[in-house]
Symmetry: D2
Subunit: 360 residues, 4 copies
C-alpha cells in the first residue's frame, strides 16, 4: 500500500525515542508520526535491536520508520538529536541520559521514567533503595506537569515527565491546595488504572487470564508514586502534605480514574471548589472541568491528551468528591511528553495532540 | 443427553423463585438445582411466562425445570411453598409478598429486593419517594445478614436479604464499630462493582460497548444503598453513623471490592483491627480474613459464597485501609439468600453453598 | 478549557450527520471535527433532539458542535448542505434521503445504512420483506467500496456505503474472483465482529453481562449481509457466487476479522494469491497486505481506516487461508464514508483519515 | 473462618496433582476438593515448592491443602497414590510418568499433556521434533475421550487426556464420520479459544494489554493439535482424514467454540446430521445437543463439564454448519480428566462434575 501521510512542515526537529518497544514508546511513535514538526530519526530497543518496528508493534506495519537499534551503538554527537524522549526502565535512565547529555549537550530530553522526578536526592535514595546516579542533572531537571510548571519547562533542557497516577491527582488537587481551600491532612485518593500502566514486561500477574474479570488494589500503603505526590502537593500547599493513596487495577487497557475525597476549609463549599477548578483551567487546552455534579469516565478521554475533572457534593457537610480521568498513556505519559516537547522546542503547545477520544 | 444429578435427600422442601428471568433469579436456580434438600417447584417471570427456562438462560438447557409462569396465575395456597425467594423489582415486591403471605401464611420468604430492608418506614418513604405498601410486614421482616443477625433469622418468616454493596461494607466494618475501635465519622467507602449488579434490564448505559474498556463512578453522593448502610452501621455503633460511600462500575461481570478508609481510636492499630476481624470470623463458614497486609481480589471469590477481607496499615499513623471482596450475585445476593433459607428451614448453614471460586 | 483545534482550510464544505446519536454517527463526528475541509453544521437525533451532543457522547464535551435537532424540523433547501451523511436505521433512510434530495438536489449523500446497497430491487424486497421506497434513487446509487468502484464514486450524488462484514470480505476476495484465481463455489467466510457492529440500541442480548466472557455465532445461514456479498462477489466473478458466511460476536468493542477459506484454481498457489493481492493494493492508501504467512489482528487497525490482509498456506494442497481485519466503525463504516466524501467533493482521498491505530 | 466441606465418603482414593501451579492444575484442585471419593494428598510445583497453594492461587486460601513440593523429592512407592493427574509441560511428562510407573506400578495416571496422545511414535517425532521418551508406555496409553473410548478407559492404567480443541471438534464430527454421513475431505474447523488455553506462562503475547480488545488467528496451517485430530478423525472414518483447522484467540478466559463446515453425503441433510448427533449423545451425561438451528455459546458451559452442540442448515444445499462449545479447562482438560478418573477407579462417571455453568 502507499503510505498516506499527514502534512509535514519543511523544517522539522530531529527526534529520537529511547525505549521504543514498550507501551509509552509506541504511544510516542503514534503521536510523533503525525506531528507536523517532527522527524523521527532514532528508535532504540535493546532486546529487539536490528528488528523493524513492525515486528514489535504490527500497527506500524504500513509506515516507514527507522530500524530499532541498541542504545550502546548510538553516536549521540553524530546523531545530533534536537530532542530525545527517554522511555527506559528506572535507574538505567540516569546513566543513559548522563551519557547522552555529556556527548550531545544541546540535545533536549524528556524523560518518562521516575528517575528525575524527585528534587530531593535523599528522598530518591529512600524510596528507590540506591543513590542517585546523576545528582547534578537532577538539580537541572524540571518537573514536567505543564499546567503547573509551564514557564520553567519552556526553558528546560531536561524535563522529568510526571507519573500517570500523580498527574491525575495533581491536576485535581493542586489548585485547591494552592488556594488553601481544602484540608491538607484529610485527602484520600482512591485511584484505579488500566493495565497498560503496568507496562509490557511479561509477568504472570499481568496475563490476561489473571487480570480479566476481576479487580484488586496493589501496592497499598507503599506505592512509589507517593514520593512524587508528597513533593508536588507539599509544594502546592506550602507545607508538608501526606495523602492516603491506594492504586487499583481495572481490567481495561487505558485510563486512570482518581476518586478523591476532600474537605473544604475556610467555608469553601463543593460548589466553590468546582468554581476554582473551572477558573484555573479555563484557558487550558487539555484539562476540561465538567459541569458541577458530573463525574468523568475514563472511556471519554481514551486516546486523547485530555483530563476530565468533576466535582460532586458529598452528603457529609463540607466534604466533596472529586473525580479526575485521563489516559495513562497519553496525558499520563506520552501525550504529556509531546506537550513538554512542544514547549521546549517552541511549537504551539497542542501541536500533534488533537486526537479526539476513541469511544466506544 | 441424560441429565446427571447431584444426590438429593428424600424429604425436600418445596421452593419457588419469583422473578427467575433476572440474574439473581438464575443464580438462585444454579444453586438450588444442586441443593440436596430442595425441590424447585415454581419459577415465575411475567414477561417470559409460558417459556421454558432454557430460552431465557440457555445454560439450563440440559436440566428439567418447571416452566416459567406469571405471578398472577399462581395459587399460593395450593402451591403451598415451604419457602419463596422473591427476586422482583422494587415496589412490586411489597404487594406480591403481602398477597402471598395473606394466602399462604406458612410459607417462608427471602426477599432479595430492597423493599423490606429499612426498619424505619419514614426513611423508606424518604429514600424511595412513596409510602411503604406493607408496613405490617416490614415490622416482621428480619434483616438477613447472617453473620450479624443469625439468631433472629432462624426464627423469621420474612427475611430481607441485604444489598450487595452493603453486605460487603458491613462485614468489614460492623465488628469494628460494635467494638468502638474506629472513628464513626471518618469512614470512607470506595466501592467497585461488576456489571451484573446493575441487573438484566436493557438500558443503553449497560451495553457492552458503553461499559467495556472504561471505569466510572455513579450515584455519587446519593445512592440508595446508603439508607441501608446508615441503618445497620448506626445499629452497630450504637449511635448515628453516616459514611461517605461512592460506587463505581468495573468492566467485569461479577464481584464487589470495597476499599474502606478508617481511623483506629482508643489506641487501636491496624494490626489490632485485623486481629479483631480475624477473631470475629474465626468460626464463620463464609467470611475469610486474609493475613495482615494482604488485600483481597474479586476474582478469588467469583462464583463462591465467600467474602475475603484484608487489612493494611496506611502510611498515615493510626489509619488503616480495609479491603472486602465478594461475588455480588452469590454472597451479595443469591448465595446469601440460600444461606438464609438454610437457617430458616433448619438445614446446616452451608448446605448447597460449597462451590469453590472459579478462577481464572 | 480552551478548545484546541486542528488547522482548518478557509473554504470548507457544509456537512451534516443525520443520526448522530449512534456509534457510526459519533465516529463521523470524531473524524469530521478534525477534517480540515469540513464544517459540521447539522447533527440530527430524533429522540435526543434539543440536547447537546455532549450529553449523548460525553467525549465531545470540550468541543463546539451544533445542537441535536429532529430531522423533521430541518429545512433542506435553506440548510444547503454540500454533503449529508445518513446514519439512520434501515427503511427510514429511503424516505429521508428521498425527501432531502427532492428539496436540495445539489446536496450529495453518503448513506451508511443498507437501504441503497442492493441494485436489484427485487432482491431488496426478498431480503428485507417490503418494497423499496425509493426505487429511482436506487438506480442512481453507487456502491461505495472505494477500492473497487472509485471512478463511479467520484461522479456520484448518492453513495451507498458498504456494510462492515462485506467490506472486509470483499477487499480480500474480490481481486481473486476477478482474476478467476479461486474456486467461486468453495468460499467459506468465518467472520468475527466486535460489539459496536450491533449498534447502540438497548437490547438485552447486547448487555455487558450477556456478552462479556463469551463467544457465539449468530444469524447463521441467513444474515442479511449475504445479499450484498452475493451481489458484489458475483459482479467480480462474472457469474453467480454464493458463499458460506457465518458471523460471530467477540467480546470487544471494535474490529472485524474474517477468516476466509479458498481453493486456488488454474494452478494458483497461496503464494500466487498473496502476490495478486499485494499487487492490487500496492498503491492503495488504506489496504495493507502483510508479508506472506502473517495473519492480521483487529487490534492493529483499531481506530484507523486501514484494512490488513494476510495469506497463509493451508496444509491441504491448493487451499489458502486469508485473514482480513478492519475497524468496523472506521473502514467498515464512518471512515469509509469520509473516504467516499473526499472523492465526491474533490479532496485528496486520505484527508482527515490519517489516524494511526490505537494499540494497546 | 471455619472451612465448610462437602460430604466425603469414608473410603477415599489417594490422589495427587503433578503440576498444580498452572491453570489445569488449579482446576483439578477446584474439582477434587469437592469430590466425595477423593483425598488430595500430593500437590507438586517445582518452582513454587515449599509454598502453600494459597500463595499461588489465593482462591484456595480458606481450604486445607498439602503444601507444594518438588516432583524430584516425591517417593512414589511410599506415597502410594491410587491415581496421579499429570499437568506438566510437554516432554517432561514422559520422563516423570515413566519414573512414577516404574516405582509405583499400581498407581493409575491421567496425563493432561500431549505426550501420550499420538499412538504412532513416528508421528510424534515428526510433530514434536524429538524421539518419544517412553515408547512402551505409549503403547499402553489409552486416548481419553470418554464418549468415544469409554470401554478401554475403564481398564486403562495410563490415560492420555485429549486436547481442548480436539475434544471440541471430535465430539461434533466423530459420530458423523463413523456413520459416513459427511464428506471427509471438505471439513473446515474454525476454532476460537479463551486465553486460559494458552496456559499461565508469562509471555508478552499473553499480557492483558496485548490480547484484550482484539481478536486474531494463530498457528495457522501448522498447529500441533492437528496430529491428534488426524489420528482420531481418521480412526473414526476408517480412512485418512486431513481437516482444515484454524485456531483463534478470544479476549475471554474460558471457552472454545468450534464452527465446523461440513457437507452431507449419501443424501444426508443437515437435519439428518442433527438427528444422528442427538441419538449418539442421548444417554451421555456431558454432551448436550441443542434443538435444530440453535447454535451454542461458550458462556453457557463455563465452569461446567458440558459440551453443547448445535447444527444449522447452510444456504448452500447439502452443507451444514455445526457449532460445538465447551470450557477448555473443564471438559477440555481437568473435568475430562476427572471423568476419566471416575471410570478408572470405578466411581459413577459424573461424580464431582455436577457444577452448573456460571453465567453471567
Amino acid at each position: 500500500m502507499a503510505v498516506h501521510s499527514a502534512p509535514k512542515s519543511s523544517a522539522r526537529a530531529k527526534v529520537g525515542v529511547l525505549g521504543a518497544s514498550g507501551y509509552t514508546g509506541s504511544e510516542l511513535v503514534r503521536l510523533l508520526l503525525r506531528h507536523p514538526n517532527v522527524e523521527l530519526v532514532l528508535l532504540t530497543a535493546d532486546r529487539r535491536a536490528g528488528q523493524e518496528m513492525r515486528t514489535v508493534f504490527p500497527q506500524f506495519s504500513p509506515f516507514k520508520l527507522p530500524k530499532l537499534v541498541s542504545i550502546d551503538g548510538v553516536n549521540w554527537k553524530k546523531t545530533a538529536l534536537d530532542l530525545a524522549f527517554c522511555a527506559l526502565p528506572h535507574a538505567t535512565t540516569q546513566k543513559v541520559i548522563g551519557d547522552l547529555l555529556a556527548k550531545a549537550p544541546k540535545t533536549k530530553v524528556v524523560d518518562l521514567s521516575a528517575d528525575f522526578r524527585l528534587h530531593d536526592i535523599a528522598a530518591y535514595a529512600r524510596w528507590y533503595g540506591h543513590e542517585h546516579h546523576a545528582p547534578k542533572l537532577q538539580h537541572e531537571a524540571v518537573y514536567g506537569l505543564v499546567e503547573v510548571h509551564r514557564a520553567a519547562i519552556k526553558k528546560a533542557r531536561l524535563v522529568a515527565n510526571p507519573g500517570c497516577y500523580t498527574s491525575c491527582a495533581q491536576l485535581a488537587v493542586t489548585p485547591l491546595l494552592k488556594a488553601k481551600a481544602i484540608a491538607p491532612d484529610e485527602i484520600v485518593i482512591d485511584a484505579k488504572s488500566g493495565m497498560t500502566g503496568a507496562g509490557r514486561a511479561a509477568k504472570e500477574e499481568m496475563l490476561f487470564s489473571e487480570v480479566s474479570e476481576g479487580f484488586h488494589a496493589y501496592g497499598v500503603g507503599h506505592h512509589r508514586h507517593m514520593a512524587e505526590l508528597d513533593q508536588e502537593l507539599s509544594a502546592a500547599a506550602g507545607r508538608d502534605v501526606t495523602v492516603t493513596f491506594t492504586p487499583h487495577l481495572v481490567p481495561m487497557n487505558r485510563g486512570i480514574l482518581s476518586t478523591i475525597y476532600v474537605r473544604g476549609v475556610g467555608g469553601k463549599s463543593p460548589q466553590d471548589l468546582h468554581a476554582m477548578l473551572s477558573e484555573t483551567y479555563r484557558a487550558e487546552a487539555f484539562v476540561h472541568v465538567l459541569p458541577f455534579s458530573e463525574m468523568p469516565q475514563t472511556r471519554h478521554v481514551r486516546g486523547s491528551n485530555l483530563t476530565f475533572i468533576g466535582v460532586v457534593k458529598d452528603r457529609i457537610a463540607g466534604r466533596a468528591i472529586i473525580g479526575a480521568a485521563l489516559d495513562n498513556l497519553v496525558k499520563g505519559a506520552s501525550g504529556q511528553a509531546v506537550q513538554n516537547m512542544n514547549l521546549m522546542l517552541g511549537y504551539p503547545e497542542a501541536t500533534g495532540l488533537e486526537q479526539i477520544a476513541l469511544f466506544p
